[in-house]
């Protein structure tokens, strides 16, 4: 079984015609977009628009009814465990830290199933912790850290495998201005290193700051996509976020 080499120009992440349904409810409907290497794309939209469902479909946590996810020109792994090998890292909204482990152990987990010398893995984990200003906390149990530090540990855990595609689920949520600025610098640096970044985020200023392109979802459909400034002025986007009257009309309630 020799995998065919992917086409040179294949985007890092290609989502095409994705349809996901939970029972009778279409969570995603004909969703298509791409993220290229070194590009940062933000997925925005009101609560329940389907943003996290896109992540879950990419991570094989939900099975799409139609459509395809391709990573680096190849079909995305069918099992969640295969993501790491495909160069995909993801952070979770709930962070999902191992509270009983130390910070260093948390960051070592994604490396633990990979080949290589234990000393090299530990060195790599410590290097990432240093980059994110967590070196002094390496031996602390994750459970004892304040929230911004916990978020940085989750980010370090996602970055430690040098992913080619990074999925960030609300990375700025719950952070103060200084932490968001540091996060933006990290995201820019990661993208500058060639990594494709897809993020789900509610924090508009952060999105405008780091995203090269923005994809807007509403009721599972892409209602706008493009550069941040253009998307911000799009009337359909304004309606989705602010036009509650328009929404109730469309839903046909009350």
């Amino acid at each position: 079984m020799t995998p065919t080499p992917p086409p040179e120009a294949a985007p890092r992440l290609e989502v095409s015609g994705l349809e996901v349904a939970f029972g009778g409810l279409k969570a995603l409907d004909e969703v298509s977009f791409e993220v290229g290497d070194g590009e940062t794309v933000a997925l925005i939209g009101p609560n329940g628009a389907g943003k996290t469902t896109v992540f879950n479909a990419v991570c094989a946590l939900v099975q799409p009814r139609r459509g395809a996810v391709r990573i680096g020109g190849r079909p995305a792994p069918a099992a969640t465990t295969g993501l790491a090998a495909a160069g995909v890292s993801r952070t979770l909204q709930g962070l999902g830290l191992f509270d009983r482990m130390t910070v260093l152990e948390n960051v070592m987990v994604p490396l633990s199933s990979l080949r290589g010398r234990a000393a090299d893995k530990a060195a790599k984990a410590r290097a990432v912790l240093s980059e994110l200003d967590l070196a002094s906390l390496a031996a602390h149990p994750a459970a004892t850290l304040p929230y911004p530090e916990r978020k940085r540990v989750a980010l370090a855990r996602a970055l430690v495998t040098d992913p080619k595609l990074l999925l960030l689920d609300e990375p700025a949520g719950g952070l103060g201005a200084a932490d968001i600025e540091a996060l933006a610098a990290t995201v820019r640096a990661v993208a500058a290193g060639g990594c494709a970044v897809l993020l789900v985020e509610h924090h508009v200023d952060f999105v405008m700051d780091v995203a090269d392109r923005v994809v807007v979802l509403d009721f599972g459909k892409v209602i706008a996509a493009g550069e941040p400034d253009a998307v911000r002025d799009d009337p359909a986007v304004e309606a989705a976020y602010l036009g509650l009257e328009a929404r109730t009309d469309r839903e046909g309630v009350q």
Binding site: T80, T81, L83, G96, R100, V109, S112, S113
Partner: protein
């Protein structure tokens, strides 16, 4: 005084076996969220393998290695076999399968080898050393203490210091997150079962020479006491299993020596009840629950 020293020292050896068996219950609970009621029956199957190997080769050590290997294989077979057939989102189906296994394995052993107690010789003398005039540990009890301590140290290193141990812990406490991070969770569950049953097999092997002999039910009381130990220590806590195991071993030894052997199980149940009343999660239970 002499009697107290003797009872304390034999209690420690008994406690080491209890702690080892309780640790095996903790390992499989952490790995698979199953209380393996078949642990004693599975461990005794492995001891029969050891008995047969030792009888055929004349080497205790070959039998010991055989018990560990048989325990690991049996753990993998049960996890990949009958337990795969039942839903895993609640613990009850797995426990019921385990109870069924007890009947199948113990009846199978009785059919194959008969219900008799087969005498099993210890590899070292069971006569206590004399320290001055005071009888203390026997050579075999010392061997049990050292081997149980050594195995626990190896397990502590395995879980605390190796990549495999890190994956086992990650998979145990957050299986879904672990999958996202590339940990092969099903493999870790199997590995947990293998480690667990091999550990239980060793504990049963160490116990049998100090009891009436080998019989399909030879580890039943060990399971009951070790289960109490694991619950007293906190089912999630290896350290709890160790400390509670030694404590219960000494308790059983003292009650047997000063009151009567019949009162020992009552003392264990009394301790279990008292701990559950004060700390329902066990003495060393961690505060947070497992997350998905």
């Amino acid at each position: 005084m002499d009697r107290l020293v003797f009872l304390l020292s034999t209690g420690l050896a008994r406690g080491a076996v209890l702690a080892l068996f309780a640790l095996s219950l903790v390992i499989v609970w952490r790995a698979a969220r199953v209380i393996n009621f078949a642990q004693a029956a599975m461990a005794i199957v492995a001891v029969y393998v050891a008995f047969a190997l030792t009888a055929a080769s004349g080497s205790y050590w070959l039998g010991l290695a055989g018990a560990l290997a048989a325990g690991a294989v049996l753990g993998a077979l049960v996890e990949r076999g009958p337990l795969k057939l039942v839903p895993r989102d609640t613990p009850l189906p797995g426990m019921i399968v385990a109870i069924g296994l007890v009947m199948v394995l113990q009846s199978g052993l009785a059919i194959a080898f008969g219900p008799d107690h087969r005498p099993v010789r210890a590899p070292f003398s069971q006569r206590p050393f004399l320290l001055g005039d005071i009888p203390v540990l026997s050579a075999y009890a010392l061997f049990v203490l050292l081997l149980a301590g050594g195995v626990m140290a190896v397990l502590a290193l395995l879980f605390g210091r190796t990549s495999l141990g890190l994956q086992l812990r990650a998979a145990a406490f957050a299986p879904e997150t672990s999958r996202l991070l590339g940990v092969r969770v099903p493999r870790m569950v199997t590995a947990g079962w293998m480690l667990s049953v091999a550990t239980a097999a060793l504990a049963a092997l160490l116990l049998v020479p100090t009891e009436l002999g080998l019989n399909p039910h030879a580890a039943d009381l060990l399971f009951v006491n070790a289960f109490a130990v694991a619950v007293v220590g906190g089912l999630d806590s290896p350290l709890g299993a160790l400390i509670a195991g030694l404590a219960v071993g000494v308790l059983v030894s003292l009650v047997t020596g000063y009151v009567s052997a019949a009162a020992a199980p009552l003392a264990v149940l009394g301790l279990l009840t008292a701990v559950l009343l004060v700390r329902p999660g066990g003495l060393f239970a961690a505060k947070e629950a497992r997350s998905a």
